[in-house]
Symmetry: C2
Subunit: 569 residues, 2 copies
């Protein structure tokens, strides 16, 4: 390469180039979404893939980078939208990818460009946020590294990524049709559990031998994590199940939990780790066991009575062949119904002492949300304070910034429920709920507490586990309790010292979970149970804050219903 | 009811009301499109339904009426569009319902209003024209009566309607994924044939007894046509198969063919009638057989080697119980591969002597279309003159009336092929074709001949039957031939005396079919093979004529891609 011009100018230009390279980068991805036959658990099924894969490609960036994802919808008849789970979308609320809340769906054949800054290092997820497409295979991992020179409060030699999922053989259309039916038809427990998109269905359980189930299909050979004896590894673990809470463990290896949802954790050691849909963790594992063999990595269903086989992968001690199966039985995990074990893990997760971000000491508003299973017009639904969520076809973000009346119910949803008299241990005495598209409008920059209160479902002696996920924010986890939250007593127990910040948190059976967040991110944000079918059946609310501060919306998010008119010529 | 005002005014108003009621009416329908489990052939399958039914409700109107259909898309993630097959949409080209050609698809949750005049009595069909939704169950019948006082050239005591279809147990998603795969994966022959949405799958052929296949399900009890001995009936018959050509017959009863695609036929008597996808007929049947028993109505696959059981319904002689099965075997129809029989039926269909509409004696342009199976970039496709059709995501009608460049390929597609040297009896020597979105632009009000030329597929000694359907027009059927069309010889054989007008016509194996139409309907019109998978794989062309005469397009057809911008605020 020959330079023209003065040597000084050349040197100056080179210095500028070096300076820029240390600056934030733009990470560019192209996602082509299409149906494709895959056999993730050896059973052939039509899968929604990204660039021919499920899970899709990892998005890898460094804190402060801008990520640009050009999503081309190659589905035949279906629209889509992708949510960047855990990314707060500060300044880009239109890139949150939540159909009905922040954007119109991306029509077949169209391309939509998501562009957002990953402002905090950590482990995140992306997944479809439209219909039940997440469950059909549209998901993947986001890994954001610390900026060059920054030091994390733990060390490791190398890192590995794990994304776990549950999997059904029935299509999401069939599942959704069942959920909408009267009487409600549930698809049942998953056929298999997947680690990095691979599981193993017992083909011989099928009524006849069939070419659609083939245990020798290389597409369902187990995932392998190769480690070098004596080295230390960071495993980034993301849980993107549609239904199941899972327990993850490496046979014979303890794990030190160091990160949760992008925040540093006060390290604690576990033999196995409970994972709720939408959560991410990093754990440190030392390859310090007998190096002459391989070990199992395993996932087991907890919090629901399992009828799905343990999901397995191979922890491969180099130089053993990856295909060499461990001589043992994969860990079975804890008792599925030992709520105390899971409760205790939840309360063990605190902010790392060097990374505590203290919460505001008081809140301006408390929203108490009773989680119940209900019926609306004969349909089985989930409701918060007896209101079951329905999303409008014109997204709130568009409706609110364009003063479109009648798009959604403007009556505010209830702030609380009759907590003095409601019996959370019993089937609702009146199971009827109402459907509404109403939203909570929060004062900008105010501090909001949300208390999630669990209760009995429509079945006797049953209360389910709900992983709640908040868009656009991290919240402080102020506490968990068993039984009914009593404002006059339980507020005093809040941890204001070292609460972890998270974006997803479990609500345990018959228990409560208390969160606090600052309503400081202009936009409209979903807060919902991350179980695909529960959200589909109305288990969510929507928060608006500072929507008047949201600048001009990109044309590209418009395009449904009357919002077509808003696009500028 | 009390009238105020002068008695004279009241009488005058009443007279006006009576006069108006004799005028054209508006027929208003509401279609709610949704997935629902149905068991049309006793096997439970997720079906696209209209108001909970498949087939959907009959649309019934009188010639000159305006039909308004408010289509609400209740599918979860999928868009839709409905075509009114056989309705020419004179003055309303935007209501043709052809996604990619005349409108953007109707997004989930949205409502689109089709409004059109049914300007000619006859039997027509409606069906989805998007993806493969027609095959998933979205179809029904349109019956347009003659105006009050008008006399048809045949008489009958009562009428009955029959719509026949083929049915698969695999979802259309699975079918489409197979068609798009390399190598091409074909779903195979249908599992059953349906008469008015009811068939009978042999559940015992399944590998195990399963609750999803239940022969006692009332949803798959056979369709019944009750007749009174001695009376004469008009049977309106519509064929909406996705693949199969069918042969229809009533056991022991001849049929007199009197209408085809809305045009009166010079009556001819048949024992059974070949039906191609997209065709409609009326036949006259006298209930003149032994009245002590019932008879079979049956459909059998022709033109492809059948592996699907005969589809049956009951011709019920009153007062025999409808459930009383005939003591006989249902008619098996003619030999499936007897092309001559089907060719002869095609040539027998002429215009009724009192209803001949003479065609223009010459044409201004002849387009000769070689029908071949090809490969494009490794994909199996169908092509016309080696061009395989792809539809743009912004419909032609919108692009052409708004001068949107780059939406489609503006290079004209080929007018002909090398008919002197091409060997139609052999596999294409070069099977490679190209894909294109190019269209034929026709001079307004000109007369156009189209010669469809069949040929060998990619398999040796195989030429398939293709039912070709033209939107926006009826064409005159000038002739059929076996072998290769020779312009210097075969034009002389054209029937210019009494050709029938139709909108759908078969192209027989290794044969040709000649059509003539006037390009006098301003708009953009698809012309394609009506086999769902063939059209999906590129077997179609598009005609534009007088698009500059199309008035202002309704906003509602906009909404995809850049056409969002065209909606008026």
């Amino acid at each position: 390469m020959a330079f023209r011009g003065s040597p000084l100018l050349v040197i100056l230009l080179m210095l500028v180039a070096i300076a820029l390279s240390a600056e934030a980068k733009v990470r560019y991805y192209r996602f082509h979404i299409a149906y494709q036959y895959m056999s993730p658990d050896c059973f052939q099924k039509l899968t929604v893939t990204i660039n021919g894969q499920s899970p899709g490609p990892d998005i890898v960036a460094e804190q402060g980078d801008t990520v640009v994802v050009e999503v081309n919808n190659g589905l035949l008849n279906e629209s889509t939208a992708i949510h960047w789970h855990g990314i707060r979308q500060i300044g880009t609320p239109w890139s949150d990818g939540t159909e009905g809340v922040t954007q119109c769906p991306i029509a077949p054949g169209e391309t939509f460009v998501y562009k957002f800054v990953v402002d905090r290092a950590g482990t995140y997820i992306y997944h479809a946020h439209y219909g039940m497409q997440k469950s059909a295979g549209l998901y993947g991992m986001i890994k954001v590294a610390v900026p060059e020179g920054a030091v994390e409060p733990f060390s490791y030699d190398d890192d590995r990524s794990i994304i776990v999922n549950d999997w059904w053989h029935k299509s999401t259309y069939e599942q959704a049709a069942g959920l909408s039916s009267i009487p409600f038809v549930f698809v049942g427990e998953p056929q298999s559990l997947l680690i990095n998109g691979r599981g193993r269905f017992n083909c011989s359980s099928l009524p006849s031998t069939t070419e659609v189930c083939n245990l020798t299909n290389p597409g369902c050979s187990p995932s392998v994590f190769t480690v070098v004896p004596g080295k230390t590894y960071r495993f980034r673990i993301a849980c993107i199940t549609s239904l199941s809470s899972l327990n993850f463990g490496f046979e014979g290896h303890n794990m030190t939990v160091v990160e949760a949802d992008g925040h540093y954790v006060k390290p604690f050691v576990v033999e196995n780790l409970n994972l709720y849909s939408g959560e991410t963790y990093s754990v440190i594992v030392k390859a310090d066991q007998d190096p002459s063999r391989n070990y199992w990595a395993s996932i087991n269903v907890v919090a629901r009575k399992p009828s799905t086989a343990t999901g397995t992968a191979i922890l491969n001690y180099y130089p053993n062949p990856p295909s060499k199966l461990p001589p043992t039985t994969p860990p079975a995990g804890p008792q599925w119904d030992d709520t105390i074990v899971r409760f205790n893990q939840s309360t063990a997760i605190r902010a790392h002492p060097d990374h505590v971000v203290p919460p505001p000491t008081t809140s301006d508003r408390t929203i108490l949300l009773l989680n119940t299973q209900n019926t609306v017009d004969g349909h089985t639904r989930w409701a918060l304070n007896n209101v079951s969520s329905t999303l409008p076809h014109i997204p709130y973000l568009i409706a609110l910034t364009n003063n479109m009346k009648d798009v959604f119910d403007s009556k505010p949803p209830p702030e609380s429920y009759d907590y003095r008299s409601y019996d959370i241990q019993s089937i609702p005495s009146n199971p009827n709920a109402t459907s509404s598209s109403s939203i909570y409008r929060l004062d900008f920059d105010s501090t909001v507490d949300v208390i999630l209160q669990n209760a009995n479902t429509l079945n006797p002696n049953n209360s389910e586990t709900h992983p709640w996920h908040l868009h656009g924010h991290d919240f402080w986890v102020l506490g968990y309790g068993m039984g009914k939250f009593d404002p006059s007593v339980d507020v005093a127990s809040f941890n204001l010292v070292d609460p972890i910040q998270k974006n997803t948190v479990p609500l345990h059976p018959y228990g409560w979970t208390a969160l606090r967040f600052r309503a400081d991110n202009p936009g409209v944000w979903a807060f919902h149970c991350h179980i695909e079918s529960h959200f589909f059946m109305g288990m969510g609310v929507v928060f608006e804050e500072g929507v008047e501060k949201v600048g001009s919306l990109p044309d590209a998010i418009m395009g449904c219903g009357e919002s077509k008119r808003l696009r500028r010529p």
